[in-house]
Symmetry: C2
Subunit: 711 residues, 2 copies
């Protein structure tokens, strides 16, 4: 029940302010002033033994002396008094508390951490919801509850502009600056919440709350680190089901940044690539900066998205049209030619020095003939090869009412996505356009970047009809057998399985491996080789030699029995000179796979999100150009296909330089199986890797593999 | 004399308006109104037989009837009357003319092009400077000359904010929108000029003018295509010598964009990568969009630059510090730890919940203790491992005067770069800060992007002390010999030289090639091979077979004479089956180079900038991940080193995976020679390529080469 009682946090009927003050220079004074200024229509109950009254409000010495029930409280007392006050809140039956006070885990001190743990325990035991500590609280302009001490509120005089949108941020100070930025730009979030130290209420809970209650059309989050995987994923899934777009700014891209984030709020930072993966998988669009958050929220609020990447551009400047086209191509959007009939109609109305190609250039002629815009736009709205329209206007003082009316009209007639970029606009034009529901930005480059984000969002929600299957094989008899074998390795103290052992397990799990046999002598080796057929590969089999190539214990391309004896003994010699006390189980004689593309597939554990699957191009590509793609398990077929396409050298798989195309279906199947296996044995296996995975024209095979177990 | 008489274009003492009107709805009316509004202190001379007077100004029927000399004219008459009016101007002795009229090459019609050619010829013959046609003219707020018909001028009420900066744009409408954007943001360009169709005055001339006259501290250009290489490069060189930074927005990144740009102004668009190369070589910073232009101009106007990549960050929000650190790492900037002593001093003054690491977090404590900023900043200014300081403040209404005074003081004390990012700032704070010379933006991500641009600019001007040597070998006897040979090939109708011929020329030019010999029979081949020493490589020698590998006419790794006969005849057979009528000169017997990294070096011709040199990683990297770097010739050693470092897989050269490092000095030397050779024979050679160029631990060798000649 992660959203239990959250309505009493966001919109309580009564709120006690513990540590209330009559001065707005104190954090216990500001919420009282704000609640009154913004016409909170619940009951404000100041608590402070020092005052009889605060303004016109009666002030109580303590909670016990307040008659009747109280839904929520704000705690603004020094850190060492917080626990006691929270206990009083619980005793009074208060359902939700915002803790402004700082001095907890964010200080990095043992004392701070210990106090925070006590608060967490109280919350768990009592069921009382706690936001914070160390938080800036809540600003709810939709239902009128401003439980915050932010100094930004006095300047917000346009809170009527609040939209059906929410901003959920772990960072308090930076978050409130972003919130203020939105109102400074003439629009704003309906809801703001700073979860800060997250002893109880997390980002995920807030997402779930806003989605379940149908309070918003778009969500923005500012995230330093997620604490609870399943709550987070469940929240994202709910939002996706209801088609409520989420844009996320996430810090910690750099190790440096990551380090600092750790220090800053004590959040457990998973590696940044894992967050990118989770966002991709659950339809969250990642914003590169705060302006991208602003732009996305602004353009997504219309509730429709471009259904594809095909964009029409219409401008009052040919130069701007070229610039926007450039940007579209940079962001992977198409600017297709318009259908012949539509071009013909456009040519009839456009001036001779205009252009009916895409981009459509109405030229400065719009000054003399403003109705041209509506006529041209109406034609574009009919083009069947267009998913979204960017209207670019620059300057044009005095035409704002005309053009805004035009866009409103066209928006009603079409279900295509349509947005307005008005550069160096007349005063108030942008605000007016936004007010009547036209998605509007000023800068054309940012417009294109945001359209790309909307397209990405639409693709991600459209593509995921496939249900996620986790643990699909668990009740299979073979799996039980594998489980028993893995358990046996662990009981014998073996935590790293050899190639032979690892591949045997993969094979039983349905992942093809090359034909091979383990030989302890040359004669046996020759016999195995002749059964397999030449050429063959020889490799040492020893749990103590993991890097077989480095140890010179791999010999490929053995064409016949002539070199056999020398190769066999050479490998053994190299093994013992590499590691004299190695436990050598024999030499692996293996079918040689030719004409393949080599891939790496691996499983790593993320501290927050658990097992993740990595796909990489083999050979030197993984290391040299970091040619990898990552997802959090479980994954869908669509995810795997996307992963493959994300490889920078994926061309190698599709029939590069006249070679036949690799068997992508088989590759997808093996990656899926490998992922399922990681989940089936999540409790036992820590890391797994197939390297190389040979991908041929017909099927794939695990050339080498390693499985490491949890100790 | 590309800047001859340009002062009469930008700041004439008298200006005739040909096609003058009393109405600002006409393009001949607006400049009169603007010149009066913005207090032009020269003489305004309206020309139009229809009027006796325009306002208080006497209007003349024609130029001849005006007494005395006139320096400049504006032509605002229909296109077919323009030539006649220009002839009248020349006859009157007018030195500079702005042609507003459109209807020329930009229409794409033969008639338009022909009229434009006539204007061009008139300009060349008369020496009269002509801006345009099809141009928006000039806005000079520094000396007060507004020779434009832009409708954006009436809204500019803050032209006193004009800076010592110029914006030179080929695009008129889009350019004037960018100009308006700057004034909309509370600052603006001192000079605006739209070169448009460029019959005479080009972007390069304007750059030269502003630089030579010392009129600006920073230049911005909006460029669709350069017409004259040497004027452009000469202008950039002048700017670099005077350390006047130039930021360029260039469209045509995409082929699509490029196509549209061609149509739009008829500019000859070189390929976009060539522009990137030219910009890098001559210290021009390329802006990705118009906001980046704005940001660069804003932050560069202070006249100092970060001397390195080491950035200190100081904030009033820990979250913002993390975010800015992330962005620094993304943009390749360092955020080093501060020196111990400075940290110790910071710890004394910062609150316990702040941070003296880099980023330095002053926290919300700045509200209570604003003087903290000056104390902390003064310490940062002393850190010897810091090149630039980003001060980030969010919100803080009421503190603007305090903080601005603080930054002014610190800027005076230090020669480090220092800039202010004030997010969601108090009203007017940013304008005030800029007014007193503090480089100020609001958005922190854009701040970091711009700091990176400044660092890049500084690096480019610092690194190019080396003089450019072009044609260095021309007077060398050997070169004469090579020239004679190339001429002989051309005379015999041979425009593509074979591998053997090409490598012979390279060798004579001082570029090492593997030892080799041309054999016409097996016995001869064996003899050559034994002189060279095994292993050897065999390749067909035929000017008709350029793709030897595709034709199966290459055999590598021949270890002894046993396979000789079979290989030799096999190659000949394959050659004739590939191309029955091929002119086969023999079989090349060549030393096999082992343990090398394979590189590609090529020369291509750009229609505007001439010979360009391309460096690429060999094997599949060039094609698969486009791993190439490009420069326009001539190049310096520093350029070549930068090119090598720009390769995504350059690691392969520096001792990858335990291999010895390749001989970079020899590689640089060969690339330099290859470039010099391309210039020495620029008149004869069209394309050249060495592929592969073997780079070994000791020296490099051209494994294969091709030279194609101009017909």
């Amino acid at each position: 029940m992660s959203t239990m009682n959250l309505e009493m946090l966001f919109s309580p009927k009564s709120v006690a302010i513990i540590g209330a003050s009559d001065s707005t220079s104190k954090i216990g004074g500001r919420p009282i002033s704000y609640l009154q200024k913004f016409h909170y229509n619940g009951q404000i109950i100041p608590i402070n033994p020092k005052y009889q009254n605060i303004g016109s409000l009666k002030c109580y010495p303590n909670l016990q002396s307040v008659p009747g029930d109280i839904e929520a409280a704000i705690v603004a007392v020094p850190s060492h008094k917080v626990l006691l006050e929270l206990q009083n809140c619980a005793a009074k039956g208060i359902k939700a508390v915002i803790v402004f006070s700082s001095g907890f885990a964010e200080t990095g001190t043992d004392e701070g951490k210990a106090m925070q743990t006590q608060i967490k325990q109280l919350s768990q035991k009592s069921g009382m919801r706690i936001l914070g500590p160390n938080c800036l609280g809540i600003i709810n302009f939709m239902e009128g509850f401003t439980g915050t001490f932010s100094t930004s509120l006095p300047r917000i005089d346009n809170f009527q502009n609040a939209k059906r949108s929410a901003f959920i941020t772990q960072s308090g100070a930076f978050g409130i600056m972003i919130h203020a930025l939105f109102y400074g730009e003439g629009q704003g979030f309906g809801y703001f919440v700073n979860t800060a130290n997250e002893v109880d209420v997390q980002i995920a809970d807030c997402i779930s709350y806003f989605v379940e209650k149908d309070l918003v059309d778009v969500l923005a989050i500012y995230c330093e680190g997620v604490r609870d995987k399943s709550r987070f994923i469940s929240a994202l899934t709910k939002a996706r089901e209801k088609r409520i777009p989420i844009v996320a700014a996430k810090v910690g891209v750099s190790e440096l940044g990551g380090g600092a984030a750790n220090l800053h709020t004590g959040a457990i930072a998973g590696s940044d690539e894992v967050y990118s993966a989770i966002f991709k998988q659950y339809g969250v669009v990642r914003a590169v900066d705060t302006e991208a958050v602003f732009d996305f929220v602004t353009l997504a609020s219309i509730g429709r998205f471009p259904k594809g990447r095909r964009i029409a551009i219409i401008t009052n400047s040919g130069g701007a049209g070229v610039f926007i086209t450039d940007k579209c191509v940079e962001y992977g959007l198409d600017v297709p030619k318009l259908p012949v009939l539509i071009r013909a109609e456009l040519d009839k109305i456009l001036p001779s020095f205009g252009s009916s190609m895409n981009p459509v250039d109405c030229t400065g002629q719009l000054i003399n003939e403003p109705e041209l815009l509506e006529r041209a736009l109406s034609l574009l709205a009919e083009a069947e090869n267009i998913d979204g329209i960017i209207v670019f206007i620059g300057l044009m003082d005095g035409y704002e009412d005309t053009f805004i009316a035009t866009l409103q009209k066209v928006l009603q007639k079409t279900d295509k996505y349509l947005a307005l970029s008005w550069m160096a606009p007349p005063a108030e034009a942008v605000e007016k356009a936004r007010k009547v529901g036209i998605p509007t930005l000023t800068d054309p480059a940012r417009m294109v970047r945001t359209i790309q984000m909307l397209v990405e969002y639409n693709e991600s929600i459209e593509s995921t009809t496939e249900a996620l299957k986790s643990n699909s094989h668990r009740n299979n008899g073979k799996i039980v057998n594998i489980r028993d074998r893995i358990e046996a390795y662990r009981k014998s103290g073996r935590y790293i399985l050899s190639e032979y052992e690892s591949k045997a397990i993969l094979k039983d799990y349905g992942i093809p491996v090359p034909i091979s046999g383990l030989a302890t002598g040359v004669d046996e080796a020759v016999k195995i080789a002749e059964e397999i057929g030449y050429p063959i590969v020889m490799k040492i089999e020893s749990p103590d030699i993991l890097h077989k190539t480095d140890a010179k214990c791999v010999k490929i391309g053995i064409k016949d029995s002539s070199e056999f004896s020398k190769s066999f003994s050479g490998i053994l010699e190299n093994a013992f000179s590499y590691k004299p006390d190695a436990n050598v189980l024999g030499v692996n004689i293996q079918e040689q796979v030719s004409d393949s593309v080599e891939i790496i597939v691996g499983i790593k554990q993320d501290p927050v999100f658990g097992p993740c699957i990595m796909l990489g191009m083999g050979g030197i590509m993984v290391e040299l150009i970091k040619d990898v793609s990552l997802r959090v398990l479980p994954i869908t077929h669509a995810d795997v296909k996307k992963m493959i396409s994300e490889l920078k050298t994926s061309k190698l798989l599709y029939g590069y330089r006249g070679k036949p195309a690799a068997d992508i279906d088989a590759l997808v199947d093996v990656i899926m199986r490998f992922g399922e296996m990681a989940l089936d044995f999540e409790d036992l296996v820590s890391e797994m890797e197939i390297n190389p995975l040979f991908v041929t024209q017909h099927g794939v095979m695990a050339g080498d593999a390693i499985i490491s177990l949890k100790e």
